[in-house]
């Protein structure tokens, strides 16, 4: 037994000191003094509110992106012991003492700092020299825009981190595989790559572009594998399965996982409840579930209910009536029935209560045992407070004249008989005699006389209808549409025989009993759909910009201004790096096209090996730039300069690729090489100077005098504040 242990146990450490040094420098530039400023900086105001909600476990919906990024930020807050009590209302507001500023900002800063060594590793995996990798890393290190974006509670540095890890792990996998290695670590790299892709996608939707690029690369490599006829069919099959599991199925599972954690964390009712379905709301602690917890499940004759429109479009609202009639004549001269208004009202109100009545019975109380309402039953609906019957007839609706008016029936004795019978059709029924269930059943009310369906027209009433939503009967509508469906939200069995007592009863809160659980998938689908379909008002921000302005950095963003002095923080990049990176991209494209065309004519300027390396680097770096930049031209949302940072990262990597290529393959005489080296050193020095000059805008200190600032305004389009004292 003991013989099998080989002694002495040794560890062979292989430390790349340059890499360690660069990492340390990354940590210094990103992490030093992140306590400053002790005030809300730019989008912290936006992400901060979600962090607070996580701390309080209140449910919210953020349409801007999936929850992983928010959760990572919230993790920092949790570790720092933040209680969530801070009002995130304006940029520049001083943090109170209970906000752990350092721990809120440290995770994004760490991610930003780690991007520096990651850049190094990616270059090495692309099989470029260590010196080139150092160059690329220095450029990333001294990039002011990346530094600013990392130092605050923002998501871009996390996104870039995950993008780089995804690329790195995939390249590592591919290199190891093609060099013939077949060990477990190989597959670990692949799986890690898949997980990183999922994380990138989980931080921001824009991560999907790099994921697609990586998938493309993987498909290409797999396609070559399929073409390798030396491999057996079974082996190819296994390879394809494993790869598609790691890069297709696993990311999807991870994505589900993020939402699972998100939804388990946010278990209490919060600010966005009304946007969700009643069933979803009932699954949250507090809020609707507090009301609905003890409700009876089955709707019976005599039930008192509120009816909510299932579609929540344009806003969630409840069927409503009040003691005001339709005007006798509308503005356009058409007449109305002059009966009581029926509307849909987006707020909770005692006038939202209706009583379900059996047409054959006078009482408005629930008999015992309760007689439940089933699919296909005919009912009348009595308005709780005014006792009018829900009615519709062949009169044009107020705003949508092609539809029927719905009214609370009053007998004016003008030979307009009441038509107040409605057939209950449960749309999501399981059997033909399904019972109408609270919250759960989506019900369509079909008018018996005219077969019109009770629905929202989507329009709002004018002033006389208090701008509430118009409710109409539509004869043409058939079949299932959420717009026509209603569900019972609040529900209790009516007990009072007298109108006065009933009014009293309506005012009192409901409680009786049901509990219902949605499955995770139901909740996930609802939340994800809401996030994707939520209409955001397309507003322009003061610092928003168009993608065209990004390449040349014609725009900046003011992140923070000192309330009294000239100290300020801007998102401004290292303009020297940006310019060189643009040149690098142009040069790469020219070289690539040149080689490509010449190779087609069978002229090989560079060795085959170099060409493959060049193409692979191009696919990753130039491809990374393209997929992270061009799609923004087609987006219709408000865009900022920081959306360009992932693309910028790839472009900087590409620059070093081009420089090494120039050095090795284009400049062949030693004189040329010497001069290129000289230019490079000078360039690096220039990059450092630029970094140093702009660093007051990056770190917010030292404070600049009002004379100095105009010299830093290198572009007229930059917004920089100068306070005159």
């Amino acid at each position: 037994m003991l013989e099998s242990i080989k002694l002495p146990i040794t560890v062979k450490a292989d430390v790349n000191l340059v890499l360690v040094a660069l990492t340390l420098m990354g940590l210094v530039t990103r992490l030093c003094g992140i306590n400053f400023p002790k005030a809300v900086v730019f989008d912290e105001v936006y992400y901060g509110q979600f962090v607070s909600l996580y701390m309080k476990q209140l449910f919210f919906i953020d349409e801007s992106g999936p929850p992983l990024g928010h959760m990572i930020l919230a993790l920092g807050a949790y570790l720092g012991g933040f209680d969530g009590n801070f009002v995130w209302d304006r940029i520049g507001a001083e943090y109170t003492s209970n906000v752990p500023v350092w721990s809120l900002r440290v995770i994004p800063a760490l991610a930003g700092a780690l991007c520096v060594p990651l850049g190094y590793q990616v270059m090495v995996e692309l099989r470029y020299s260590h010196l080139t990798a150092v160059g690329a890393t220095l450029l990333l290190l001294l990039e002011n825009a990346l530094i600013v974006q990392s130092r605050f509670m923002l998501l871009e540095s996390l996104l870039i981190f995950f993008l780089l890890t995804a690329v790195l792990f995939y390249l590592r996998f591919h290199n190891a595989y093609s060099s013939g290695e077949r060990s477990l670590t190989l597959w670990v790299w692949l799986v890690m790559s898949g997980v990183s892709c999922a994380c990138a996608l989980g931080v921001k939707y824009t991560g999907v572009f790099t994921y697609m690029l990586l998938l493309g690369l993987a498909v290409f490599h797999t396609w070559q594998l399929i073409g390798n006829q030396a491999l057996s069919n079974a082996l190819v099959m296994v390879q394809v399965m494993v790869r598609s599991f790691a890069l297709l199925i696993l990311p999807v599972l991870c994505y589900f996982g993020f939402f699972y954690v998100h939804l388990s964390l946010l278990c209490r009712s919060g600010p966005h409840d009304p946007m969700m379905s009643s069933a979803f709301q009932a699954s949250l602690e507090g809020g609707l579930s507090r009301i609905t917890q003890w409700q009876p499940l089955e709707v019976a004759y005599g039930s008192q209910v509120t009816l909510r429109s299932v579609s929540s479009k344009p806003v969630p609202c409840w069927l409503h009536s009040h003691r005001v009639n339709y005007p006798i004549r509308y503005e356009d001269g058409r007449g109305s029935s002059h009966q009581q208004q029926i509307t849909c009202y987006p707020f909770k109100d005692v006038n939202n209560w209706w009583v379900i009545k059996d047409p054959g019975r006078q009482e408005l109380v629930v008999s015992s045992p309760p007689q439940t309402v089933k699919h296909g039953d005919i009912i009348q609906l009595v308005h709780g407070m005014t006792s009018r019957f829900l009615n519709t007839h062949d009169v044009a609706a107020p705003v949508s004249p092609h539809l029927q008016e719905v009214s609370g029936y009053i007998d004016f004795n003008v030979s307009m008989p009441s038509q107040n019978l409605w057939k209950v059709e449960i749309l999501n029924r399981e059997s033909e005699r399904a019972v109408w269930k609270t919250i759960y059943s989506e019900v369509q009310l079909v008018h018996v006389n005219t077969s019109a369906v009770l629905k929202l027209s989507g329009a709002s009433l004018p002033e006389w209808g208090f701008r509430q939503l118009e409710v109409v009967g539509d004869k043409l509508s058939k079949g299932y549409q959420q717009r026509w469906a209603w569900n019972v939200e609040e529900h209790r069995y009516g007990r009072s025989h007298e109108q006065k007592e009933r009014e009293q009863e309506l005012h009192s809160p409901t409680h009786i009993d049901i509990s219902r659980n949605l499955t995770f998938i139901d909740k996930f689908l609802e939340v994800q759909l809401k996030m994707l379909t939520m209409k955001i008002e397309e507003t322009e921000h003061k610092y928003s910009s168009s993608p065209l302005e990004w390449v040349t950095m014609d725009t900046n963003i003011v992140y923070w201004l000192h309330p009294s002095s000239n100290a300020q923080i801007h998102l401004i990049g290292n303009i020297v790096t940006w310019t060189f990176a643009n040149l690098g991209l142009a040069l790469f494209s020219l070289l690539f096209i040149w080689y490509l065309l010449r190779r087609r004519r069978n002229i090989h300027d560079i060795p085959e090996e170099t060409w493959h390396q060049f193409v692979q680097a191009g696919a990753v770096c130039a491809g990374g730039w393209v997929v992270n930049y061009l799609p923004f031209f087609m987006m219709e949302k408000t865009l900022f300069l920081y959306h360009y940072l992932p693309a910028l990262t790839f472009k900087i990597l590409l620059l070093s690729v081009v420089i090494e290529h120039l050095h090795v393959h284009i400049f062949r005489s030693s004189l040329q090489r010497r001069s290129l080296e000289g230019v490079l050193l000078a360039g690096l020095a220039l990059v450092y100077v630029c970094y140093h000059t702009l660093s007051p805008f990056t770190y917010g200190y030292p404070e600049l005098s009002s004379e100095d600032i105009p010299f830093l305004r290198w572009r007229e389009s930059w917004d920089i504040l100068i306070r005159q004292h």
Partner: protein, 765 residues
């Protein structure tokens, strides 16, 4: 025999079936024989024994093939003739009904009339389609006098048949062209027949071809381009021969036509462009081809596919501008210089005081193309949008609300003497003539462009405040220069805040009547957005001088009209409560379009594809992807396929690939479009999808011989083909009222002709 085939009884559904079956039988064996011949000639050893054994009589293979080619050609011709006749019949049947304006006829008919009346108008599409409609109307005796006000208006005794007939004629070319294209791509008449039949019997294609619309014209040119490209590809072994040039030039002509009708033509240009790039790439890789020869190829394509279409496209516009010489409803969209070309416009041979003076009534127009007139009206900015003062906007139409009075800051104008001129550097007030408010700005954010300041109308009857003062600056002028009407570019600098009056070009929401936003920009960079010119100038105390404007060159007009069109196109946003059709609705045939009529009493036409055909198309796309992937993987794995399978894989990947790419290019871009979308936008993509169906199903049926003995497989093939055609015809019989008009109760009523046919709840008939 031939004549017998061509006698078709219009309603004889069964006759058609039997006819088809008989013909199909004959065709199949012929084709098999051809294939046997070809294989025997080229690959020999690879050919299947069964195929080789068919070559029984001792004639040389060459001779036999030419004979069979001849047979095939006559067979093809007769089928083609049948397709053409059928498509003419289906498109022209009831072409005159309903005798009122249907749907977008109100636009395109009206624009056709404008050409006949030579009145200038503005539309978001290039002019060729409407010009052809106008021409067709003119040639058939329509005099352009029908006003085309709204859908449902009766044509009465106006000659509208010519315009509808022209569109229907182009629409009936689609099935034969599809037949030829698929025939060329797959070398299989079965595939061609299936593709053509899907188009002939599709109610959607019929409906959209029967009215005065741009779509049939557009689709004609798209299909023309595809056919010519395919034909051109076939000529690749005989470069620079006469047919090679013919097809190249025809491709170019068709591309110009497609782009000249709608910008959707760009998609087919992309398709042809990609195909050409691929072709050139192949040529470049052919090391036997000297580089000089390659340059010849390249320049020939540049000429035929870029220069020629561009020239034609520009010529279309030249004709457009020459024909439309009278002032009309579209004037205001264009610059002052442009307007001076139009007879009847107040700028045509204009005469007005030459220099801007105090006390003048003026209109102020933004220099930026389609920037609009400075405009105000009796409406306030809504609550929450800056200060609640009167709106100031940019408006593209001519209107009395565009009139402004030029005043001194203190309004101390001596009314009796000749008014002073406004000079560079002067401070003025601009009073809105209709509402007597002053042009005003202040430190509130502009409604949309938050970086800018809000501009409002403020004060009443001459009482204002210092925020109403604007300094006039002539661009490139010096202190004391007068302001030339029409010719000077002027900037208005706000005295109090130092910002400059600016038209952002963004459309305000509903509260601003979808007019253009006008702001005061703190960025003083010189852009056309901040430059204005004085267009109308009325001052009775000054002598009018005839102004000959610098007439714009043709190129300037061309560029200007394009910018206006593109702006107009992206401005077509869905209005509130108007549900925009979603691109995913289209392939599943989710919802159609009402062309005419809503109620039970009206004559209803509903644009909806034949669901059997559309769902089959959808299925075929999935099937195609599956089959193509299988084929590609087999080839990549280097699996030894029989000659026949090899050939099928090639057809599937090359011919099918081209069509699939065409479908993608005509469909996917709609997902990224922000403008309002309609169901009929899918029809160009549907053409590609139908052709792809032809190829996919044909190859699927052919693959029967992998499972069954050859004779059985051939029999099965024939039966399946017959069944497919029968299904098309029967479904067409069921759904034909959609195209040819329905009356009476709606479909949910059992008494309706369409009862039971509303297979999807979202169909509205």
């Amino acid at each position: 025999m031939e004549s017998q085939r061509c006698q078709i009884q219009p309603a004889g559904k069964e006759d058609l079936c039997t006819l088809r079956r008989r013909k199909g039988g004959g065709k199949t064996s012929e084709r098999e024989a051809i294939r046997a011949g070809r294989l025997g000639g080229s690959e020999g050893a690879n050919g299947r024994p069964a195929a080789a054994s068919e070559d029984t009589n001792g004639r040389p293979v060459e001779e036999k093939r030419s004979l069979q080619d001849g047979h095939r050609r006559t067979g093809t011709c007769s089928v083609l003739a049948l397709v053409a006749v059928l498509s003419l019949i289906t498109r022209f049947y009831k072409i005159l009904e309903p005798p009122h304006i249907c749907w977008d006829e109100t636009h395109f008919g009206k624009m056709g009339s404008y050409y006949i009346n030579r009145t200038f108008f503005f539309d978001v599409h290039p002019p060729l389609g409407k010009m052809l409609i106008g021409l067709a109307g003119h040639l058939t005796g329509y005099d352009g006098s029908f006003p085309f006000i709204r859908p449902g208006d009766k044509y009465e005794d106006h000659d509208y048949w010519g315009m509808r007939g022209f569109c229907a004629l182009l629409g009936s070319c689609l099935p034969p062209v599809a037949y030829l294209t698929v025939q060329e791509l797959s070398r299989s008449s079965t595939a061609a027949l299936i593709a053509a039949a899907t188009l002939v019997f599709d109610t959607g294609c019929i409906t959209i071809s029967q009215y005065i619309l741009l779509d049939p014209i557009l689709m004609f040119f798209i299909m023309g381009s595809v056919l010519c490209t395919v034909k051109f590809n076939q000529q690749r072994h005989r470069p620079f021969s006469a047919p090679w040039w013919l097809w190249l030039v025809l491709t170019g002509v068709n591309l110009a036509g497609a782009l000249g009708v709608k910008f959707v033509g760009l998609f087919v240009i992309m398709l042809v462009g990609l195909n050409t790039a691929w072709d050139l790439w192949r040529l470049l890789g052919d090391l036997d081809l000297p580089l000089a020869e390659f340059w010849k190829h390249l320049s020939a394509r540049v000429f035929g596919l870029i220069l020629l279409p561009l020239t034609l496209y520009i010529m279309i516009f030249a004709v457009h501008f020459v024909v439309l010489k009278k002032s009309g409803p579209g004037d205001g969209f264009f610059s002052s210089a442009f307007q001076s070309r139009l007879i009847g416009n107040n700028l045509h041979n204009a005469s007005m005081p030459e220099y801007l003076a105090y006390g003048s009534t003026v209109t102020v127009k933004n220099i930026r193309i389609a920037g609009g007139y400075l405009h105000s009206h009796w409406h306030l900015y809504p609550e929450g949008v800056g200060a609640r003062q009167q709106q100031v906007t940019g408006y593209l139409h001519k209107d009395y609300n565009n009139l402004w009075l030029v005043q001194r800051p203190n309004n101390s104008e001596d009314l009796s003497r000749t008014p002073d001129l406004v000079r560079h550097g002067d401070v003025i007030r601009l009073e809105h003539k209709e509402t007597t408010r002053f042009l005003h700005s202040h430190l509130h954010k502009a409604p949309l462009t938050k970086k800018h300041l809000q501009v409002t109308g403020y004060g009443i009857n001459g009482t204002g405040d210092p925020n109403d003062l604007w300094q006039v600056e002539v661009c490139g002028g010096r202190q004391g220069d007068p302001v030339k009407v029409l010719r000077s570019k002027v900037r208005f600098l706000h005295r109090a805040t130092g910002c400059v009056l600016y038209s952002t070009g963004k459309t305000l929401p509903k509260w601003g009547w979808e007019q253009v936003e006008v702001t005061c920009s703190p960025y003083l960079k010189e852009t056309p957005n901040s430059q204005w010119n004085i267009e109308d100038h009325i001052n009775h105390k000054l002598p009018n001088i005839s102004l000959s404007l610098l007439k714009p060159s043709f190129l300037e007009i061309l560029v200007e009209s394009h910018i206006v069109m593109i702006r107009g196109n992206s401005g077509l946003k869905p209005k509130d409560h108007e549900s925009s059709s979603k691109p995913w609705h289209w392939p599943v045939n989710y919802q159609g379009l009402r062309f005419s009529g809503v109620n039970e009493t009206e004559y209803r036409v509903y644009l909806l594809g034949n669901p059997v055909i559309w769902w089959l198309n959808l299925l075929s796309i999935g099937l195609y992807l599956l089959m193509a992937t299988t084929a590609a993987v087999l080839l990549q794995r280097g699996v030894q396929l029989g000659g026949r399978s090899q050939e099928r894989c090639q057809v599937l990947l090359d011919g099918g690939g081209l069509l699939f790419l065409g479908w993608l290019l005509h469909y996917l871009p709609f997902y990224t479009m922000g403008r309002i979308l309609y169901y009929h936008h899918y029809f160009p993509a549907m053409l590609f999808s139908s052709m792809l169906t032809g190829i996919t199903l044909d190859i699927l049926l052919q693959c029967g011989d992998l499972l069954f003995p050859l004779a059985v497989a051939r029999h099965l093939h024939r039966v399946a083909q017959g069944l497919l055609l029968a299904a098309f015809i029967y479904s067409f019989y069921l759904f034909h009222p959609l195209s040819y008009g329905m009356r009476g109760p709606l479909a949910h009523d059992p008494a309706s002709a369409m009862a039971g046919l509303r297979w999807m709840e979202s169909w509205e008939f």
